[in-house]
Each structure stands twice: as structure tokens, then as C-alpha cells.
């Protein structure tokens, strides 16, 4: 029997495999690399968890506290009302009316919702088109908003609501026919402000340039002459 035959026996081959094959030891750097790679996610998790937790807590606090933080509001009641009606006007420009209704069929509903009755109401003409009417809640008062659009596409918002503390500022008054409303500005909008009894009335638009103001005066005259709000309750 040859040497080759002896070596081919199972036992000898097993011994050769176990004893003659070179063994390759892992390089030293490999162990270090593995340990570092295994540790790195843990280090990241150590600060990431608390950071996310703190961020979530801060966000929750902001959401809870934000509504009760004192807001910067004008001390002048007239300016405060103007800011509120301008906000309502800009909201309508962006989102439209909440509950658009058609005059005059909606008048009873508007009166019921707002507590203000309109003995007369401007329903539009060849220059100003009636768009919609809706009840509003501004400065803790329920009122009525009526929206118009002129032939050039300018939106106008008429708002009437109880305003016992409102004093129309004299320096801003402008003589228009037999009336003397005040012209106030806020956030790029202009507003005519006047009172009819205990009702504060506002006509808001983006007509702020010199030419526009002349037309705005004309629109005020049309609305003022044909709209008569009175407190219902």
C-alpha cells in the first residue's frame, strides 16, 4: 500500500486537517474595531434619548403655556378693535367666510346669532357686489360681518358689534358728507371706524393708497347711508 493510500484514510486525513492546516489569528486591530463599533451606537443612544425627551417636554410646555401667555395688544381700544377686524378681514381673504349666507334671507339667523338687528342693510350695487354675510366673535363680542367686492376686485368687510368702550379717535376723523368717521390703519389695511349708538362699525379694506382712499370714502358713504345696525337684546 502506498503512502498516498495511507494518507487517504479517514483518520489520517482528519488528523492532517486538524494538525497541518495553518490557523489564522485575528489581527489585533480587528478586536478593537469591533469593540468600538459595538460601543458607538450605545454612546449615541446615551445622549439622544434624553435630548429627544427634553425636546418633547419643551414642546409640550410650549403648547400648554402658549395660549395663556400675555399677548401684546394695543392699549387704545379703537386700535385694538381695528386690529381684530383687520384680522377677521384677512382671514376671510385667505380662507373665505365660515358660514356664508345670502342677504336678506339670512337676516333673522344673523340677528339670532349676533344679537344685532339690521334695520337697513346695504346689499350691493353696480360698484360693490355683495359676497356673503356671517356672524363673528371679536373682542369678546358677537357681531355681524358682511363682505363685499368692488369692480376692481378689492375685498371690503363691514363689521358691526357692540362696542361700549370704543371711542372714535378725533385726530383720525375725516369728514365724508355729513359723517366724520376715523380712518385707522393696521397691518397694511385701512379701516373706517364709527359708532352708531352703542354699536361699533368698521369697514376694512386694503385700499390704502391716496387714490384708493378716495374710492374708499365713497364706499363708506354707500354703506353708511344704507345700513342701520341696532342691538337686538
Amino acid at each position: 500500500m502506498s503512502d498516498g493510500f495511507d494518507e487517504s484514510s479517514d483518520e489520517i486525513l482528519s488528523r492532517r486537517l486538524a494538525g497541518e492546516l495553518p490557523r489564522y489569528a485575528a489581527p489585533a486591530h480587528l478586536r478593537v474595531t469591533i469593540v468600538e463599533a459595538a460601543a458607538s451606537p450605545a454612546r449615541r443612544a446615551a445622549w439622544l434619548g434624553p435630548l429627544l425627551s427634553a425636546a418633547a417636554t419643551a414642546m409640550l410646555l410650549v403648547l400648554v403655556v402658549l395660549p395663556v401667555l400675555p399677548r401684546i395688544v394695543p392699549s387704545d381700544p379703537a386700535q385694538r378693535f381695528v386690529r381684530a377686524v383687520v384680522s377677521e378681514h384677512s382671514r376671510t381673504l385667505m380662507w373665505g367666510a365660515r358660514h356664508g349666507e345670502i342677504l336678506p334671507t339670512a337676516l333673522p339667523w344673523l340677528t339670532q346669532e349676533s344679537g344685532i338687528a339690521l334695520l337697513k342693510v346695504f346689499v350691493g350695487d353696480e360698484r360693490l357686489e355683495f359676497v356673503t354675510a356671517e356672524p363673528v366673535y371679536l373682542e369678546r363680542q358677537r357681531g355681524i360681518a358682511i363682505h363685499y367686492r368692488d369692480v376692481d376686485g378689492h375685498m371690503l368687510t363691514y363689521i358691526a358689534l357692540p362696542a361700549p368702550g370704543l371711542t372714535v379717535p378725533d385726530p383720525a376723523r375725516v369728514q365724508i358728507g355729513r359723517w366724520r368717521p376715523a380712518l385707522l390703519r393696521d397691518s397694511g389695511f385701512a379701516a373706517w371706524v364709527w359708532k352708531q349708538g352703542e354699536i361699533g362699525c368698521f369697514l376694512v379694506s386694503d385700499m390704502v393708497s391716496a387714490d384708493d382712499v378716495e374710492r374708499f370714502k365713497e364706499y363708506f358713504g354707500r354703506v353708511r347711508a344704507t345700513t342701520e345696525p341696532v342691538p337686538m337684546y
Partner: protein, 170 residues
């Protein structure tokens, strides 16, 4: 990620795993990557390891599965070996060309013959004869019945003997 004690126990077997990886990949850079990937997977899935079972065999199983995953990807990427080199001789992780001097040299006919065996024959001999794992553990690593392991060992030795005879007659 695994706790430090598990890591310590697993790293005891790094030399055996590296040796196995060298015979599978034939290239030290590939063996490095394969062992590192094996440990990262083992640490990540350490919760699946059943205490009391053979940690060493579990690590071998992960290493082989990882190798086969990369190996099959490589096979899909380059199904044809244009230069006639057996497809398992191209770098597994595509780090460098074959002739960069990092490929494992064969020191003996036995080593050269072992390298020429198909993977399932090489693995079964390395685990059973070189590492001394019980047949049941080898079967677990290779995900096959013990009978299949015995059959593969028998056939692997036959192939190995044939190759050794060829070397002796040259």
C-alpha cells in the same frame, strides 16, 4: 445592543471565527469585514441567543450566513468570470483587485486542496475536523440534518483525497 458580558464571551471566539473566515473568503480584508459584520450582527441580535446553547456554533452560523449573503450578492453582480478564475476567487467585498498581494497563499497541498472544495464541503470539514464541533452543531450551523452533514463529510473527504492524489502525481 449586547451587554458587555455577552460581548466579552463572544470575543473569546474571534480567532476561530477569523480562521474560518479566512478559509471562506481567502483574503484578509474580506475576512476582517466578515468577522466584524458577524460580531455586529451577533451583538445586535444577542437577545435571540438562547443561553445554555453553544455560543461558538451560533457565531459560526451567523458568520456563514453573512458570507453566503454577500457571496450570493456577488454572484448576482458578476455571474460570469471572464478570465476563467473561479468565481469564489474574486474579492467578496470589492476592496481591491486580486493581485494586490493580500490574497492568502497556500502553504501546503492540503490547504490548496481544501480551498478548491465547494463551500459546503469546505465548511463542513472546517467545522467538524478543524474546529471540532459536534455533528449536531455543524448541522445547526449549516441548517441541515445531521445525516446530510455526515454525507457531506464523506463526500468532502473523497474530493479532498482525489485532489491530494493529483498533487502527488504531478
Amino acid at each position: 445592543m449586547a451587554d458587555l458580558e455577552f460581548q466579552r464571551q463572544a470575543l473569546v471566539h474571534i480567532d476561530a471565527l477569523y480562521n474560518f473566515a479566512m478559509y471562506l473568503t481567502r483574503r484578509p480584508p474580506d475576512a476582517d469585514d466578515l468577522v466584524q459584520e458577524t460580531y455586529l450582527r451577533a451583538f445586535r441580535f444577542s437577545h435571540r441567543f438562547q443561553p445554555g446553547t453553544h455560543l461558538r456554533a451560533w457565531l459560526f452560523q451567523i458568520l456563514r450566513n453573512t458570507f453566503l449573503t454577500f457571496y450570493r450578492v456577488r454572484e448576482r453582480e458578476s455571474p460570469v468570470a471572464e478570465d476563467g478564475v473561479p468565481e469564489w476567487d474574486v474579492p467578496m467585498f470589492h476592496h481591491a483587485p486580486d493581485d494586490d498581494g493580500t490574497a492568502m497563499d497556500s502553504h501546503t497541498d492540503l490547504e490548496r486542496a481544501l480551498r478548491r472544495l465547494p463551500e459546503e464541503f469546505r465548511t463542513v470539514l472546517l467545522l467538524a475536523e478543524v474546529e471540532g464541533l459536534p455533528l449536531e452543531e455543524v448541522a445547526r450551523v449549516m441548517a441541515c440534518p445531521v445525516g446530510t452533514v455526515k454525507s457531506r463529510i464523506f463526500r468532502a473527504k473523497e474530493r479532498l483525497r482525489g485532489l491530494l492524489r493529483d498533487y502527488e502525481t504531478r
